[in-house]
C-alpha cells in the first residue's frame, strides 16, 4: 500500500496495462516527452519508448480517428484529449464513429479503445477549459463512460477500461489530480458499471461523481455532526453501464434521493437517474428527488464566481437539510 496522487495514479494505471499487453499504445498532445500538460503521464515515454507513447499534432480528429483505426484492426489504443471541452472539435468520432461502427456493421467492426480526458472546473480556466461534459458522452448509445474520484479507482477503472471490448470515455477530474489516496500494491483491476457506497447512512441517498464525491462526503459528515442526519453517499463511478441496482437499493433503504452534479442543469446525468428512480422506486420515496447542479450557464473564470456556481459543501448541506426538514 502506497499513498499516490490521482495524477500519478493515471500514469500507474496506463503503465500497468502497457506492461501487460503490447497491443496497448498511448498518444495525444504533449503526452510523451513532456509527460502531459497535467503531468499525469510522466515516465511513460521513458518506460515504453517512442513507438508506444507518442506526441501528436494538435489534431483532435486525427487523434481519435487514428485511435479508432488502430482499435478496429487489433490494437488497444489509449488516446488523450487534453481538455474534455475539446470533444466539441472531434465529436464526430465520439458520437458517430466509435459507438455506431459495431451496430452498423452487424457486429463485424470492433472498437476497443479508451479516450482519457481532463474534465471539470476548479482551475479558473473559464468557460472553454472547465466544463463537465460527462453527459455529452452518456447520451450516446454504444459508449461506456466512467469518472473516477480516487487514485485507487483511477488505476482500477483504467485497467477495466483498457480491457473492455467497447469504446470507453474516461473522465479524469482536473481538480482531483493533486489529491492523494491509498493505492494497494500489485495489479488492480476494477469493474465498469459498479457504483460504490462510500458512506453508509439511513436518512437520505446522495449520489455524486468525480470531484463532487469528496464534497458530498464532507457534506454528509457535517449533516451528521450539525444536524444529526445520517446520509448515504454513493460514488456513481460509471455512468454507462449504470449501476441502477445499487442506486435503487439505496433509495429503498433511505427513501430520499439527492444528486450532486457538476454539469450544467439541463440534461445532466442526475436527471436520467431521477427519472429511473421516479419510474421504478416512486413508492419508496418519502419526498421529491432533488438535483444539486451547476446553474445552466457558461462557467466564469474568476475564482469567486466559479466557486459560487459549482455545487459546494455548504450548498449540499443546506439543500439536504432543508429538504429533509420540510
Amino acid at each position: 500500500m502506497a499513498e499516490l496522487t490521482y495524477r500519478d495514479a493515471v500514469a500507474r494505471g496506463i503503465a500497468q496495462e502497457m506492461a501487460r499487453d503490447p497491443d496497448v499504445i498511448f498518444f495525444g498532445e504533449d503526452v510523451a516527452k513532456a509527460g502531459g500538460v497535467f503531468k499525469a503521464t510522466v515516465g511513460l515515454y521513458e518506460q515504453f519508448g517512442p513507438r508506444r507513447v507518442r506526441d501528436t499534432p494538435i489534431s483532435e480528429q486525427a487523434i481519435l480517428g487514428a485511435a479508432m483505426g488502430a482499435a478496429m484492426t487489433g490494437l488497444k489504443p489509449i488516446a488523450e484529449i487534453m481538455f474534455s471541452d475539446f470533444f466539441a472539435v472531434c465529436f464526430d468520432y465520439i458520437a458517430n464513429e466509435f459507438p455506431k461502427s459495431r451496430y452498423m456493421s452487424n457486429g463485424q467492426v470492433k472498437c476497443p479503445l479508451v479516450v482519457r480526458t481532463g474534465n471539470g472546473a476548479g482551475s479558473r480556466f473559464g468557460a472553454q477549459h472547465s466544463q463537465s461534459v460527462e453527459n455529452w458522452a452518456m447520451m450516446i448509445p454504444g459508449l461506456k463512460v466512467v469518472a473516477p474520484s480516487t487514485p485507487r479507482d483511477v488505476v482500477g477503472l483504467m485497467a477495466a477500461a483498457v480491457r473492455d471490448p467497447d469504446p470507453v470515455i474516461f473522465f479524469e477530474h482536473k481538480s482531483l489530480y493533486a489529491t492523494k489516496g491509498e493505492v494497494p500494491d500489485g495489479e488492480i483491476v476494477d469493474t465498469l458499471g459498479s457504483a460504490r457506497i462510500v458512506r453508509p447512512g439511513k436518512h437520505a441517498t446522495i449520489l455524486a461523481l468525480a470531484l463532487m464525491v469528496p464534497r458530498a462526503l464532507a457534506a454528509a459528515e457535517r449533516l451528521q455532526a450539525e444536524h444529526g442526519l445520517d446520509c448515504e453517499v454513493i460514488d456513481v463511478r460509471s455512468l454507462v453501464p449504470l449501476d441502477t441496482q445499487a442506486i435503487l437499493g439505496s433509495v429503498g433503504r433511505t427513501h430520499r434521493l439527492f444528486t450532486v452534479e457538476e454539469n450544467p442543469r439541463l440534461c445532466g446525468w442526475g436527471a436520467e437517474i431521477v427519472s429511473i428512480v421516479a419510474d421504478e422506486a416512486f413508492y419508496d420515496l418519502d419526498g421529491p428527488p432533488v438535483r444539486i447542479t451547476t446553474p445552466h450557464m457558461p462557467l466564469p473564470a474568476a475564482d469567486i464566481f466559479e466557486d459560487m456556481v459549482l455545487p459546494t459543501v455548504d450548498r449540499i448541506v443546506e439543500t439536504v437539510r432543508r429538504s429533509l426538514s420540510a
Binding site: G65, A66, G69, M72, T73, E97, Y103, Q108, P141, I276
Partner: protein, 345 residues
Amino acid sequence: MARKPVRAPELSARAKLNDDIGEELRLRLYRMQVELREAEQRAFDLFLQNLVKGTSHLSLGQEAIAAGFAAAMKPGDLSFCTYRGHAHTLARGVPVEKVLGELMQRDNGLMRGKGGSMHLTSVEHGVMGSYAIIGAHLPIACGAALRAQYRGDDDVSVCFFGDGTTNIGAFHEALNFAAVWKLPVVFVCENNLYMEYTPIGEVTAVEHPAADRASAYGLERIVIDGNDADVVYRTASAAYVRARAGKGPSLIECMTYRHSGHSRADPAKYRPEGELEKWKERDPIKIYRARLKQFGIGDDVVAKIDAQVMQMIDAATEACKAAPPPPVDILFTDVYADGGWAWRN
C-alpha cells in the same frame, strides 16, 4: 493530365505481345468494371421499382478507380470507403447479392439491414467500412496504418473519398498525421467535378482540390486519368510499393465524372448542357473495350464476360427479391461487445 505521371514499370519481353498489365489482369479489370457498372445500374432500376429504400449514391462512370485500386491490392489490404461505396465494396470481391440485399433491406444483406447503403462493411474482404460523415475515415485509415507500422504488418490502408472531402478539416489533419508518421496509407481522391450539387472549382481555392494541397504535406503532386483502369492500376501499384517500403503516404487525385446525380434525390440539373455527353465519350468501360481490342482480345471474349456478369447480377437480384426481411431478434444485438444493448443493470 499528370504533371508528374507515375512511371510504369519497365516493359517485359511479353510487352511486345501484350504489356506490363497482361491479358489475365486486363480481363479481370474489364470484368470488374462491368460488374460495378451493371450492379449500380441494377441498384438504380430497383429504386424505380421501390425495392431499394433510403438513399443511395452511385459510382456510375467512376468504375475504373474502384477496379484499378482494388485489383492492385493484396489480400489483407484494407479499404476505407465513403457513402459512395458500393463499387469499392464490390471491387474487393464482396458478392453482388450481399450488396443488393443490404440496399433492399433483406436478411441476406451484408449487414442484415442494420447499416444500409452508406455503411457497407465486409471485414473478411478487407472492406473496413463505408463512412457517411465527410472526411471521417481519413484519420481512421491512418489508425489502421499505424497498427500495420507498429506491428510490422505488410498491409496498406487505402482510403477513397470525393473532391468535396478536401475542404473539410479531417482531410488536412489526416494528411499531416500520415506524413509526419510516414504511415502506409494511400489517399485516393475521386474528383468527379462536383461536391454534391456544386462545382468543386466554385468552392475551392486551387484547381486540383487534392493534388494542389499535396505539397503542404510534403507529398508528390499526382493527378491521373481516373477513367483509364490501366493508368489507375499502375498508379495504385506504385503507391502501394511506396507504402509497403515504409516511405509513407500518397495522395492521388483521379479525374472522373459521375454519370448520375449526387444521390437518389438528385437529377443533376446543375450540369451544363453537353458535359455528361462529353464525359460519356470517356466512359471507363468504353475506353477499356477499345483497350482490349487494341491488345487483340476478341469481341466474343468481351461479349461472354458481359453475358456472365449480367447472368450473375440477375441471379443476385432474384435471390434478393426472394430473401426475407431481417428477423426482429437481431434489432437489439451488437450495440455493445457483449452482443446486446444493455446500458444498465
